[in-house]
């Protein structure tokens, strides 16, 4: 029996990924802000073929809760094979620029809490000598842009942290997978107008499912964003700083 812990299970991308693991008969432990939503997702995953689905409400910004949730998940699932951390918030940067407490909160949600959870999970995997941790970062973390650098720097911190973890577990069975989706048509981006570069969460879900099963390192979704981001990163800073991005 295979098991997966999903933190931020209510995200549209996480739900699509979870459905694919459910078809494979996985057991789940889900956490998210809203318990009512978790019930909806749990029923959905059972219908898709999940063996067992446990869930617990959690606010990731409540750091003291992390260890308890992880312990409960280990307890219920007996052993955790895979973990997916999928939550995040996309702030409207202009609205929070002058409020440092809001910036701190965004950074806590998108970076600090993710780093703390990843640390606990990494230690657990180290103890059992196996496991795969996938975290949804973002292409926005690859280079700072004026329109989005608070979200971007938080995602960048996560990417760098995961890179370090991956290095720590380099020779072992433990896999650390950084997922970098581009623009996805989800509730997080509902307020933005969509254009042709937007991808459906179903497609991203398939990409994450494959990346976890194959134990990849860094995955851009869709794959061609690796090329786009490589080009963006190659632009010299003295030119980049004058661009409106």
């Amino acid at each position: 029996m295979k098991t997966i812990l999903i933190i931020g299970a209510g995200s549209a991308i996480a739900q699509e990924t979870a459905r694919l693991f459910a078809k494979d008969g996985f057991s789940f432990y889900l956490s998210d802000l809203s318990g009512e939503r978790l019930k909806i997702i749990a029923d959905d995953l059972i219908a898709y073929g999940a063996k067992n689905v446990f869930y617990q409400e959690m606010d990731a910004n409540n750091f003291e809760q992390h260890q308890a949730i992880l312990n409960d998940a280990i307890n219920k699932l007996k052993r955790i094979d895979f973990v997916l951390i999928a939550y995040g918030t996309l702030p409207n940067q202009e609205q929070i620029l002058n409020d440092t407490l809001l910036i701190a909160k965004e950074f806590s949600t998108n970076a600090t809490s993710v780093i703390l959870l990843s640390s606990l999970i990494a230690n657990y995997f180290e103890k059992i000598g196996d496991g795969r941790l996938a975290v949804i970062s973002s292409v926005a973390g690859d280079r700072g842009r004026q329109s989005n650098y608070i979200y971007g720097s938080a995602k960048g911190a996560v990417s760098l942290f995961l890179q370090g973890l991956r290095n720590r577990f380099g020779p072992t069975n433990i896999k650390i997978i950084t997922i970098k989706p581009c623009l996805v048509d989800t509730p997080m981006t509902a307020h933005l107008s969509k254009y042709f570069l937007y991808t459906k969460p179903e497609q991203i879900g398939i990409g994450i499912y494959n990346a976890i099963n194959k134990g990849k390192d860094v995955v851009y979704l869709p794959f061609y964003w690796r090329c786009i981001m490589t080009l963006i990163k190659l632009i010299p800073e003295r030119i980049f700083k004058k661009m409106r991005l």
Binding site: R37, A190, S193
Partner: protein, 437 residues
């Protein structure tokens, strides 16, 4: 470009925009519909052709995110789901486990809520009736926040009004319906060429007794009238053990932007080619369910091939009595007008009654035609066709309509007065305002 360009209908005519769109993310969230000014209409994938899914200057509630399965009772073949889920998503779950929808329309990119609100039919109408015949229960969310559970016993009248109710009775949030068991994802398909309408009816009579799915394609590049030629397509699910589920992604051909590709030349070329690709009178092959039921789904956004002006669909049903004559007349009028339809589909409906109060299908002959939107000429032709449909006591399909006259709607659907009692006081659509004027 209007910021609600994604909230038009499939025919891209009329281009009527809402003043606002509210995303319905979670079934348990409070939408606050009481506080919305103006009228409300649920909207999912906008695959209705005309204006029945539009609400100009009103609010649309986008239900696409309501895509969860509530339960899948494999033993009794019953699925319960939220109503924004697509047929595509359902099939991806149920087909590998050897279940299928009891009735499916010609595209899988529609929501279950839309399938119910338009009481859709498929190639098996002669033996299966409409999708509405398989619904056990519905959950309806009214604008005052009330949830109405309706089925054949409880709130029976709401149940009947909601099936085929064009989304006007409230938001369909959940639906429970029966599935059918299949043994394989392939259809044993036969293609028979016919050279005139009489021959179509001969083949049809024989086929309806022996085939679950029947439909005919008409070659509109050729002479219309009683000499209309076409290909009759009929099939059955095969009984053999299923092959391994082929999870390979289907090939999708995108139409990148609105470009007029459909004109008399391409229509003639396509239709002549399609008719002549089959040399023998009868051809037989195993067809995957995707290409059998959803042949056009591999071209994403094919409406764009009609260009900016969009197109009009016209689907009518006429009773069998005088039907053959009326059909020939209609085909003749179309032929003489010089206008041509890219895809013309002919089928006969059976007499299985739907629970839906406003359902379109009724026993008789149905024809679906599409015309590029060329302004007054196109309307004039359709008005002439209306006259024939009216004279033999037929009717038109609201889900495909953008121009039916109010007096015709009221004639085709005399039960509309009774239906109107069940419409949510805040709900309306561009279609409804137009036909009840």
């Amino acid at each position: 470009m209007n910021k609600y360009e994604d909230y038009l209908s499939w025919g891209r005519y009329p281009r009527l925009y809402p003043k606002g769109v509210i995303n319905f993310h979670w079934i348990n969230e409070q939408l606050g519909m009481e506080d919305i000014n103006g009228t409300i209409l649920p909207y999912a994938y906008g695959k209705s052709y005309g204006d029945s899914c539009l609400n100009d200057n009103g609010t649309l509630i986008d239900t696409k995110r309501l895509n969860h399965i509530v339960s899948f009772d494999r033993k009794n073949s019953i699925l319960k789901c939220e109503a924004g889920i697509t047929i595509d998503k359902i099939l991806k779950l149920i087909v590998p486990e050897n279940y299928f929808l009891p009735v499916t329309p010609g595209t899988k990119h529609i929501s279950i809520g839309g399938a119910i609100a338009n009481d859709v039919h498929g190639k098996n109408h002669h033996i299966a009736g409409t999708f509405g015949c398989y619904i056990n229960e519905l959950e309806l969310l009214r604008s005052d926040g009330e949830k109405i559970i309706c089925n054949n016993e409880q709130n029976k009248e709401f149940f009947s009004a909601t099936i085929g109710g064009m989304g006007l009775t409230g938001i369909i949030t959940k639906a429970e319906f029966k599935l059918k068991k299949i043994q394989s994802q392939y259809i044993d398909t036969e293609y028979i060429k016919f050279d005139n309408i009489d021959e179509f009816f001969e083949i049809n009579k024989e086929s309806e007794a022996n085939f679950e799915y029947t439909v005919a394609w008409i070659d509109c590049s050729f002479k219309y009238g009683s000499n209309t030629r076409g290909i009759y397509i009929r099939g059955n699910h095969i009984d053999t053990k299923p092959d391994k589920w082929n999870s390979k992604q289907e090939m999708m051909i995108p139409v990148p932007f609105e470009l007029s590709l459909i004109n008399l030349f391409t229509i003639n070329a396509f239709n002549t080619l399609y008719y002549n690709m089959q040399i023998s009178k009868l051809a037989r092959k195993l067809t995957h369910y995707n290409s059998f039921f959803y042949p056009l789904d591999c071209v994403t956004d094919w409406y764009k091939a009609y260009g900016k002006k969009g197109f009009l669909q016209y689907q009518f049903v006429i009773p069998f009595e005088n039907g053959k004559f009326a059909l020939s007349e209609i085909l003749k009028v179309i032929y003489e007008s010089g206008k041509k339809s890219f895809m013309t589909v002919l089928k006969t409906f059976g007499d299985i009654k739907s629970p839906g109060l406003m359902s379109f299908p009724r026993k008789g002959i149905t024809l679906a035609i599409d015309f590029s939107m060329d302004g007054p000429d196109t309307f004039k032709l359709l008005d002439e066709l209306d006259e024939i449909v009216r004279s033999v006591g037929g009717g038109l399909y609201p889900a495909k309509d953008a121009r039916m006259k109010p007096e015709d709607f009221k004639r085709f659907y005399p039960q509309w007065v009774n239906f109107a009692k069940f419409i949510d006081p805040k709900f309306s659509s561009s279609f409804w305002r137009r036909v009840t004027k």
